[in-house]
Symmetry: C2
Subunit: 322 residues, 2 copies
């Protein structure tokens, strides 16, 4: 495993209704990060569209695409050109009627199609008001993974996964020394004033805790912007259909519906210390250098992997112990 420090960039971006536009924008930002020295870059969850899961609409399955597919083809060009590793979250069409929320890790040294070094399919699928993901995504069936890259094994989890300590633990046990977590999380406008601070704090706290519990770097990347989930569907004949999201889109009332994505992308070290942190309100490239030596030093001083009671954890596979 390479022991060299790696320069990481998280692309905190806003997403438009058009996939073409988002891909252009993402490629620009990735190229900009690479020019500034980034070797390992991560995009936010489902950056190819506005967050469309705010309603259940069968037409939106048309957004899904195979992996490899058009998006990985497009992204692989910048991966090759900039000689980087790129973690990209995509709406995967695996088979007719079978879709996943999937991360593809593209590595310039990978010989696979579109430089794909490996994929991870979101294991924990949420279903909450405005986050109707169980309608769109089948739960992942690949388990938790450390995907080999030119910068060593890299773990990926996706959004809702971030709330499950088991996910981070298993990813670390697979050998990942860093876990990237593409995310699309935000406030319901009606809840923000009462619960917003606690929700943001809980989100950051539990992810820092994954770093601490496992002695790994954690890199969480979120989108920004206020979205109703507006989508432009392009048809093979070149025409396009606007599919506006739910809620009040008027300029004066629109802020009371939709989701206010909170940004706040961050990188923390294996003891949960924040190395870099984005603002909540704007696009930003968050960078830090991850030194694998710090994983080993931290784990020597806080030897949790040594002391885990693996003889006593088997009930973790129970739903409840009643």
């Amino acid at each position: 495993m390479p022991s060299d420090p790696v320069r990481v960039a998280l692309i905190q971006m806003a997403c438009a209704p058009s996939t073409e536009e988002n891909l252009d924008h993402a490629v620009d930002l990735v190229r900009q990060a690479a020019r500034a020295g980034a070797e390992l870059v991560c995009l936010p969850e489902l950056f190819g569209a506005q967050y469309f899961c705010q309603r259940e609409d069968h037409r939106l399955f048309a957004l899904a695409e195979p992996i490899p597919g058009p998006s990985t083809a497009r992204l692989s060009a910048v991966v090759r050109e900039a000689k980087i590793t790129l973690i990209a979250s995509l709406f995967e069409r695996r088979a007719p009627g079978l879709y996943h929320n999937t991360v593809a890790v593209l590595d310039h040294e990978s010989a696979g199609p579109d430089h794909i070094a490996g994929i991870y399919r979101k294991m924990h699928i949420p279903d909450d008001p405005l986050f109707y993901e169980k309608f769109y995504f089948a739960p992942g069936d690949l388990g938790f993974r450390a995907i080999p890259t030119s910068h060593g094994p890299v773990g990926a989890l996706i959004c809702w996964d971030q709330w499950f300590p088991e996910a981070a633990r298993l990813t670390a046990l697979e050998g990942a020394q860093s876990i990237f977590i593409p995310t699309a999380i935000g406030w319901h406008p009606s809840e923000k004033s009462e619960f917003g601070a606690a929700q943001y704090s809980a989100w950051k706290t539990i992810q820092r805790a994954h770093a601490i519990a496992n002695g790994v770097f954690v890199c969480a990347v979120n989108r920004v912007g206020h979205e109703h989930g507006d989508v432009v569907l392009s048809k093979p004949d070149g025409t396009a259909t606007d599919v506006p999201g739910p809620g009040d889109h008027s300029s004066d009332g629109g802020c009371n519906s939709g989701i206010d994505f909170w940004g706040g992308s961050f990188i923390c070290d294996p003891f949960g210390r924040i190395l870099a942190q984005a603002s909540p309100n704007q696009e930003e490239i968050v960078t830090a250098t991850l030194d694998p030596a710090l994983v080993e030093t931290t784990r020597q001083h806080w030897p949790f992997l040594r002391d885990r009671r693996i003889d006593a954890y088997s009930n973790i596979t129970s739903r409840f112990l009643d």
Copy 2:
């Protein structure tokens, strides 16, 4: 299960070399908390002595006692008198040559000896410079538990357990809606300026994360004071032997050895929000009211128990997946 809110008190205290003195002091503080309305009270880890595990000394096994035993007899009196539930951390002598770091939960309604409703034996045993616990304590063999009390099932973990998400998860799956964590954690004086803030932050972060991940209240209670682990051993014949701990005890040099226990006892709610927090430097009784209704509301809004991928967690029982 009772659904009434319960008034909780954590006894953040300093510990003296003499067990008798510590028991007197603990009983005073518990009585004081009960007079102020506390119904469920928790003492810090091994409050009956200075933190003696700073060295490996066979003489110190003499501090251990059976459960039930002299300490639970003494504590049961205040439990009965004040009609409370008390969580007490003790150095348990289970058999000749077999010792545990154990919590006893005493409940005024329990018909057991000394009102003992149940015990929990520390599952994760640390071994680090000045924390030589693997010398003294056999790992617990009772698993993770929710101990029935007159205030519903109560979970207990002990210090080093607090770094293991599996421990909190399994305790919650057993039905505990609150987890009490008696602790003896502090800074090595030589490390405090460089690492102190990060260590304290990690400690608080991971415990708040247990609350968030499981939708339970977490109540962490630590001791305060600078200790070298000085102990007074009382013999059956009424005589006593001073056993000073390691390090420089001189008034000018003593602050460079021993452990500086950082206090900071806190209570957080099922979404990790701090309800009450002690200072780092002084004895303090930390109180809050825990409302079980908040456990259910929080879990309805953040339904992690619903979405756990119990089909995919079996590798948690592996040491590493290489």
